[in-house]
């Protein structure tokens, strides 16, 4: 057992308060991983540079006129709260050397570059281990670092296509369908955060670091693992069921208002009797068309018409609540606008107000890992470009103000992005 500093976290400190992360990731998958760790108290230092900055900063939808728009992208800010921001040009010798000095006093390094980039920067696992023997490196290439397709690139929607999820998604009998979100990203991000924690557990037990590789394609296959086994059992490749299910009677039904829907799902005969009670049609439970799971499956369309006639005169909330009062699984299909007003999340205090000097004040989603003794919050707003340069370079790496000024003059560190990069 090696006694490591994190063994001494106090009762009231966040779980990862003594963990420092050098975060080389951009866009969503990597930042999602490091956000989870930052939320839990880790000191995450996000590295960008004038020539290599996070593309999400450009997705701000504010028009071209706003000052320092690169600090105002809601999408970027969402992914990077509770982190520090430092700019270092890793392609410069001096920038690389400073990054390694930072790694030497860190616990974890995250990167989601294309598979070959870290090696070109001479910042591979062996380079990092040379300055910090127990470092944990987490790499998140889309296709993995090895194999005949490792030169391919992919974003989150590509990942769900590669992984087979798109092939089983869609309206029943129609073509494959994509998720609205770049789903491969947060999936790989949450896996990478957990894998980093697993590696920390191992380091605590043995003193050893390691290299963790999350190939985003592979990390997504698990979410349809039952289809992989099913294919080997009976040759079925899986197909889209729309809003349906292999055995449950379920669907989404139109409600009062524009594009408002409620989802209702019934499994057992008792559930179905409860549903019929809510509909005011108790005799339906004895109707031969709906008498059991198999009958309901074969007469789903007729059942949908009956349920839809009932929901059409009600709000999605009223419909869901009446069903739930009778013990039937149901929920409003929440639009984003409604989600943010939803009384349940409001009652749970899910939303947190965040203020950042350039971006102003807005509401952000809160914690998904809700710990009872050490509840976490948004402690610091997302970093403005280069906001913590002085803290990192002077306080952590011991450079003088003159040295920092020289680095800035040579573009090794900077306080504004080169706008030609993500035109």
């Amino acid at each position: 057992m090696s006694a490591s500093k994190e063994d001494f976290i106090g009762m009231n400190e966040l779980p990862l308060a003594r963990i420092r992360v050098v975060d080389l990731t951009m866009v969503w998958a990597g930042p999602c991983a490091t956000r989870l760790l930052a939320d839990m108290g880790a000191e995450v230092i996000k590295i960008e540079s004038a020539r290599s900055w996070d593309m999400l900063r450009s997705l701000h939808f504010l028009g071209g006129k706003t000052e320092r728009w690169w600090n105002k992208s809601a999408y970027f800010n969402h992914n990077n709260r509770n982190k520090y921001g430092c700019t270092l040009d890793l392609k410069s010798e001096r920038g690389r050397e400073l990054a390694l000095r930072l790694v030497a006093q860190s616990d974890l390094v995250f990167e989601n570059y294309r598979a070959d980039v870290l090696g070109k920067l001479r910042l591979d696992y062996d380079d990092l281990r040379a300055v910090k023997p127990d470092i944990i490196l987490v790499s998140m290439p889309s296709h993995g670092k090895s194999g005949p397709e490792s030169h391919h690139i992919a974003y989150g929607t590509n990942v769900e296509q590669l992984a087979g999820l798109a092939s089983i998604s869609g309206y029943e009998g129609e073509e494959p369908h994509k998720s609205p979100i770049a789903y491969g990203d947060p999936n790989a991000g949450a896996i990478a955060a957990a894998a980093a924690l697993a590696a920390l557990h191992h380091r605590r037990a043995t003193g050893e670091g390691q290299h963790v590789e999350v190939a985003q394609w592979e990390a997504m296959i698990g979410t349809i693992g039952e289809y992989v086994l099913a294919y080997q059992m009976d040759g079925s490749t899986g197909r889209s069921l729309g809003n349906g299910h292999v055995s449950r009677a379920q669907g989404v039904y139109p409600c009062m208002g524009t594009d408002e829907w409620v989802a209702i799902s019934v499994g057992s005969d008792a559930d179905f009797a409860a549903l019929c009670g809510v509909l005011g049609l108790p005799e339906l439970a004895r109707d031969a068309r709906f008498a059991d799971v198999v009958s309901r499956h074969h007469h789903q369309a007729e059942l949908d018409a009956i349920i839809g006639a009932w929901t059409a005169g009600r709000s999605q909330d009223e419909a869901a609540q009446l069903m739930q009062l009778a013990g039937v699984s149901a929920a409003p299909v929440l639009k984003i606008q409604r989600l943010m007003q939803d009384p349940h999340l409001r009652a749970r205090g899910f939303w947190e107000s965040v203020t950042q000097a350039d971006a102003g004040t807005w509401d952000m989603d809160g914690q998904v890992w809700r710990l009872s003794r050490t509840p976490a919050h948004v402690r610091t707003p997302p970093p403005m470009f280069g906001e913590h340069n002085r803290w990192v370079l002077r306080d952590l790496l011991g450079l003088s103000d003159e040295q920092i000024a020289t680095l800035e003059a040579y573009g090794v560190t900077s306080s504004a992005p080169d706008l030609a990069v993500h035109a």
């Binding site: 976290i9 809601a74 590669l162 369908h177 924690l197 809003n243 929440l334 984003i336």
Partner: protein, 415 residues
Amino acid sequence: MLRNVRPAAKRAQAQPRMTGPLGSMRILDLTSGVAGPWSTKLLADYGADVIKVERPGIGDPSRGHGRFPDGVPDRDQSALFLWLNTSKRGITVDIETASGRALLLRLAARCDAVVHDLRPSDLARLRLSHDVFAAENASVATIAVTAFGQSGPYADWRATNLTSYASGGQHWLTGDAGREPLQNGGYQAEYQTGTWAFGATLTAVWDARANGAGQHVDVAGMEVQASILEIYLPDFAYRKAETLLLRRGNFASAAVGIYPVIDGHIGIHAMPKNWPQLVEALDLQWMADDERFADNRARLRNDDDLSAEMFVWAAGVTRAEAYERAGRHRAPISPVNTVADLLASEHLDIRGFWREIEHPGAGAMRYPGPPARMSGTPAEPRRAPLLGEHTSTVLTTLLGLSQRDVTLLARAGIV
């Protein structure tokens, strides 16, 4: 009709192997279905000794889900169960009985964490809570993995994957404009909840081991989903504009969508910086010089024109041709793979992704490998437990019960 289960004496009893990064961790798993079992499967595959508790004689409902080898139902051979419960030890305890509850509390005292998927009303009925577990073992963490969490007006709502997906915001955004919102394939709302619960559990145990006091962790699927609404929620929360809040079917724009090709479908996801490579990969270099497509703003203005060009191009290529060109030019284009394509993938095969796992009833199958590869602590998943397979072993070795005690408990229907 259930097939007979081979008697325990003839089976090799899978012992926890204490390998992987979590080799010293023990988890008491009270979950069933998809979300909770997925989180504990990940813990188990990485080496934790996960003791799954099921109802005597019945087990996890996923045992009845299927599919089954050759279509023949067997509670030990359901694809969903086999996938979600690898590497775990399986015991049966009726936790609704006083004796069963007492066994449960004794087991919790020997574990780093208890993972459950019970609503507040279920916990109250069973007289279980984090405080109850902690009274036996102050360092135990309790992780609740549910659709709506342990507080708030929906906390006792019933949920399935569909209704959980509906409440989280992704559902409304999925599907075509003018049609009903569409759920994603499989059990994605539940998988998301489980994936996040995996990390939450590791955080809680990390904390508990540092200071000897376990915490309660509340993971709500609705919040997990709401936290990953990509640009949609953050942009609305910030700008208060609804411009992005639409169902866009298979196309966010012409450059981000799913296109039919000769032998199936491909997906393209080109950000502005990928445009030069995309044009090369499509072999439509003239587009680079067309003023309609001169920059990202122009391309969005002329999205219909671009879309038309791309549909025409796609109709003339196969998935393999498009993918090969994409790799050569480093453009983000992928085939829409089926599970059959995955199992035939040379890339995944060469990387050693699949794990061949033998099961006494279902036989040998290739299971997807762990989602993260760890250079120092490779994970080697083992098959899922038969119903009650480890009841006797766990109760005798962990709790010190005699075989006679176990037999008595079994006769009483408690285990």
